[in-house]
Symmetry: D2
Subunit: 286 residues, 4 copies
C-alpha cells in the first residue's frame, strides 16, 4: 500500500475553512404596521453581492412557538446544510429570509403569523417584509421565485399563508405543522389577554383543515398551483394533522407529498427535514 | 375532514420534554500516568442507575485535533441521535465515554491518542481510563461489550487502538480518519517541541496503513476479529486514506465496510455519521 | 495517476457469481386441514446445512391478494436484498418462509389468511405450516426467534396473526397493509360464493382496527410484547388504515413505528421496504 | 377509532394500474456504419405524443458487458423508478435511449462502445443513433438537454464519451464503471479475433484515467463543462477505478461527485443508483 498522496491534517482544516463563503446576517426591519422593529435573519449564498448581483429565488423559513429569527441559524444548522446542497446542485443558490414572529415569553410576547389585536403580523409579512426584503436582497419578485417553509407554528404559518396567497408561493413545505388546535372560552379576563391564549385562538380561526374542507372550486384551482409537502414525525402529537390535511387535499384533487419519518417534535427532525425541503423548494422554482 | 384529535401545541411541547431522560455528564479522571486530571464526558442512557444497575455495553467516542471531550455533546448532537436510535431499537442502551485528548491550542497543548514524550496517552487510555470508567459506570468489561469510534484524529486513534488491541474492541468505526501523514525534519529546535509537530510525527509513526501492510499472519487473524467501518466525505482531503486502508485490508482478507458519502471535513458529516456508527457498534456487540 | 490495481472485468463478473450461496427453494406441504398441498417458498441463508445445522430465526413473509408464494422471490428481490443485509450485519442469517395463500384467479381461488368456509387457512398456518416448516428447516421454535411481515393483504395478515397470537411473534412489519375494508350484502347467491367476496368479508370480520379498539387490558398487555412497524406509501389508498392503527395503538399505550414514504401500492415500494423490515425483524429477535 | 374512509382493495389495485402511462418501446435502427440493424429501447414519459409533442431532454443509458438494450427495462426497473421520480418532481419527464452494444455471447459477438475493427460503435453512436433518435423522439438537440449514464462497461462508455465529446453532454453518471483494464499480448491468432479480447483492448486504449492524466489545459476546461458523478460499491472489484478518476479529476480542478455505497457489481446496486442518477441528470439539464 503505497501512499501517493498523504496530507497534513492542518492543511485540511485550513482548506475546509474556505468553503464557508455564504453568510447569515441579522437585519432589522422597522414596521409601521406593527409599530416596532422586527429582527430578520437572512441567508445570503456564496457569491452574493447585494442588489447589484444576480436576482435570486427566495425561501421564507418560519420558526416555531417560543422561537425567534435566530433559531434556524443557531439550532437548525441552515447554513451548513444549504451550502452543502448548493455544492451538489440539489439546491440552487437562494436567499433565505427568517423573520422573528415570537420569543420565549409566550404569555407576554405575541407569537404567531396571523393578524391578532395589536399584532397584524400577516399584514406586516405581505405588506412590508416581503416587498422590502426582496428589493433589498435582490430576490423573489414572483411566485416562481418564491417558496415558503416552516416548523410547527411556522409549518402552520407556511401552509395558511400559501392557502390564502396561492398566487405568491410556488411551493410550501410544512414540518411538524400546527394546522389546527382546540380552543375553549377564556376563564378569566386576564386569560383573554394572555398572548399564548391569543395565539392558540388564532390558529383555530385559521384552521388549515377547515380551509380545505370549505374551499370552493375556484379556491381548489388556486391551491393546485402550489406544490405541497407535509413532513411530520411518527411520534409527534401533531402527526394526525398532517395526515388529515394530506387526505383532505387529496379528496379535493390537490396533490401533496406526505412523509412520516421517525421522530418527535424536535430540532433533529427539522435539521434533517432541511435535506428534503431545500431541494423541494429548488425543484419548484421556475 | 373531522378533527377527532386536535392538540394544543403547548401540551405537545411539554410531552416532548419528558423524552430527555438520558444524560451526558462531565467527569474528571485523575491520571498518574499523565500527571494531570483528564476531563471525560459520559453519556448515560435513560434508566441508568449507577454501578448497581444493568451492565451496559460501552462505546469510546474520540474527538479530533483541536477538539475536547465536550465536542460530541455540544456540536455533534450525540444525545439526541442516540436517544432516538435507542428509541427505535437501532441502537441498544449503552454508555459512551468521550475523553479529552486535546484542546484548541495545538501548538502548546498536546493533542493525540498515542504515547509521546510527557504524554503517554495510550498508556493512560488502556491502563487507567478504560478500567476505571468501566468499573464506575457499569459497562464494558470484555471485547463483546466494547466498541470504539472517532472522527479525524480520533478516527485514526480508533483504528490504531483497534489494530494494536484487537482483543479489546468488537468494532471500530472511523470517520474522516487521519490514518497517516507526511512528516519532515524539524527546522528549528523550537519546532521540535511544538505540540502540533509532535502530534503529526506520532500519526506517521503509528501509520494505520503501514500496520496493515506489515501485518504477519497472526496479526491478520487478530484483525479479522474486529468489525471495521470506514466513512469519509468525497470532498475530504483525507478520503484517499480511508480508501487505501479498505483496499489494504481487503488485500489481506480482512473485511471492512467503506462508505464515501457527500461531504467535507465537518460536523455535519460526523453528525450524520452517528446514524450509521451507533447501529454498527450495536450490531457488533455480543 | 498510476494504476496499481487494474482488473479485468471478466474476472470481476466471475467473482461476483460466487456470492450467491444462499438459495430460495420451492417446497410443498400436504395439508390435512386444507385438503390440498400448499406450495411454500423458503429462503435458506448461506451456510445452511439442513436440520443438522445451526438453529436459525425465522421470518414469515406473506404475499398480497392475487399473489402466490413465488412473489417475494421473483418480483420482490428478497434473496439479493437479504444476502446483502446479512453481509453487512444489518440482518442476521435467517430462514424466510413464504407460503401460498392465493393466486391470480381471485373469483374462483380462495385468497387470504383467515379461516373461511372450506379454507381454514389460519388453522393450517398455526397447526401445520409453522410446526412442520420449523422442524424441517431448523428454525424458529419460540417467540424470540420468530417474526412476521407481509404486504397488502399479507400486511393485514401479519398484523392480525400477531394480534391473535402475540405469544408467537417477536415483531410484525406490515407493508401497505389491508387492515379493514367495506362490506355490503351479497346481491346474488353466486356472489355469496365468489372467492373475492369471501376474502373481503373475512378482512372486515378480522378488522385490525376493531381489534385494538375493543382490546381489554390483558389483550393490550399482550400486544405490548410485540414490536410493531407500519409502512405505507403516501399515495396508497390504504394509507389511512396504517395511520389509524398507529394512532389506535398509541391511544392504548402500545408503541409502534410508522413510516409514510413516497409511493403507491407497488413492488418498488415493497422491495425498498425489505431494507427496513429485515433489519427490524433482526433487531427484535432474541 | 372510527373508520371514515375504508377502501376495498380491489378498487385500490384498479386505481394503481392507471398510473402506468409511460412506456418503454423497442425500436430498431438500421445502421450503415455498422452494416446491421441495432435494437434500441426507448422510455417515453407519460403524455409523450411523438414528434409533434413537447421537446424533451434525453438521457442515454448504457448497459454493461454481456448485456443488451433490454437490461434496464427488464432487470433495472427503469420505468417504475423514473415514473415515481417524475411524479415527485425529482426527475423531469425525459426520453431515455438504451441502445444495444452487446449480447451474452461475448466471445463471438462484439461488446462495447468504442470503435474496433468491423464495429465502429462510437461512429454509429454519434453519427447515426443520436441524430436519428433525437429527431424521431422529439428530444435532446443540445448539450443542455442531453445526459449520459451507464453501468460497468456502460459506465466506462459514458465517461469516455463525455471526455471525448464534452460539448454534447451536460452530465455523466457512471455506475461501477470499467474505466481501464489490464491487457496482455494475444497468445494465439484465434485469441486476437476473440471479441472479449478485443473489448478488453479497446477499454485499455480508451483509458478514462489516462485521458485525465494527459489532458491539456483546453481539454481540462472542456471537461469542467460536464457534471460528473461516480458511484461504485465498496465490495466491487472496480471500485478503485472510480476513486482514482475522482482524485485525478480533482487534481486537475475538475469537480466530481463520488459515492461509495454498500454493494457489489450487481443489479441491486444499479437499480438503487437510478434514484441518484435520474435526479442528477435532471438537475443538470438546462
Amino acid at each position: 500500500m503505497k501512499r501517493i498522496i498523504i496530507l497534513s491534517l492542518a492543511a485540511v482544516l485550513c482548506t475546509t475553512a474556505s468553503f464557508a463563503q455564504s453568510k447569515i446576517i441579522t437585519d432589522t426591519l422597522p414596521s409601521t404596521t406593527l409599530g416596532r422593529a422586527v429582527p430578520v435573519n437572512v441567508y445570503l449564498p456564496r457569491g452574493f453581492e447585494g442588489a447589484s448581483s444576480n436576482h435570486y429565488p427566495v425561501l421564507y423559513l418560519l420558526h416555531g412557538l417560543y422561537g425567534t429569527h435566530m433559531d434556524w441559524a443557531r439550532t437548525g444548522g441552515l447554513q451548513t446544510v444549504l451550502d452543502e446542497l448548493i455544492g451538489t446542485g440539489e439546491a440552487v443558490p437562494m436567499v433565505v429570509i427568517m423573520p422573528c414572529a415570537g420569543g420565549s415569553d409566550v404569555h407576554h410576547v405575541q407569537n404567531g403569523y396571523f393578524n391578532v389585536k395589536d399584532n397584524a403580523y400577516e399584514d406586516f409579512f405581505f405588506g412590508e417584509l416581503m416587498p422590502k426584503m426582496e428589493a433589498k436582497y435582490a430576490c423573489g419578485g414572483s411566485k416562481g421565485k418564491r417558496a415558503i417553509a416552516g416548523l410547527s407554528m411556522g409549518g402552520g404559518g407556511s401552509v395558511v399563508y400559501s392557502q390564502r396567497h396561492p398566487d405568491l408561493f410556488s411551493s410550501c413545505y410544512a414540518m411538524s405543522a400546527w394546522l389546527d388546535t382546540q380552543v375553549r372560552e377564556a376563564r378569566t379576563p386576564e386569560e383573554k389577554e394572555d398572548k399564548l391564549f391569543i395565539t392558540n385562538q388564532s390558529v383555530r380561526e385559521h384552521s388549515a383543515l377547515d380551509f380545505v374542507d370549505h374551499a370552493d372550486e375556484a379556491t381548489v384551482s388556486s391551491l393546485k398551483t402550489v406544490k405541497w409537502f407535509l413532513d411530520c414525525g411518527d411520534d409527534d402529537s401533531l402527526m394526525e394533522l398532517s395526515v388529515r390535511l394530506h387526505l383532505g387535499m387529496k379528496a379535493k384533487g390537490i396533490k401533496s407529498e406526505l412523509r412520516i419519518r421517525n421522530g418527535v417534535h424536535n430540532w433533529e427532525y427539522w435539521h434533517t427535514a432541511l435535506r428534503l425541503s431545500l431541494p423541494f423548494a429548488t425543484r419548484n422554482f421556475d
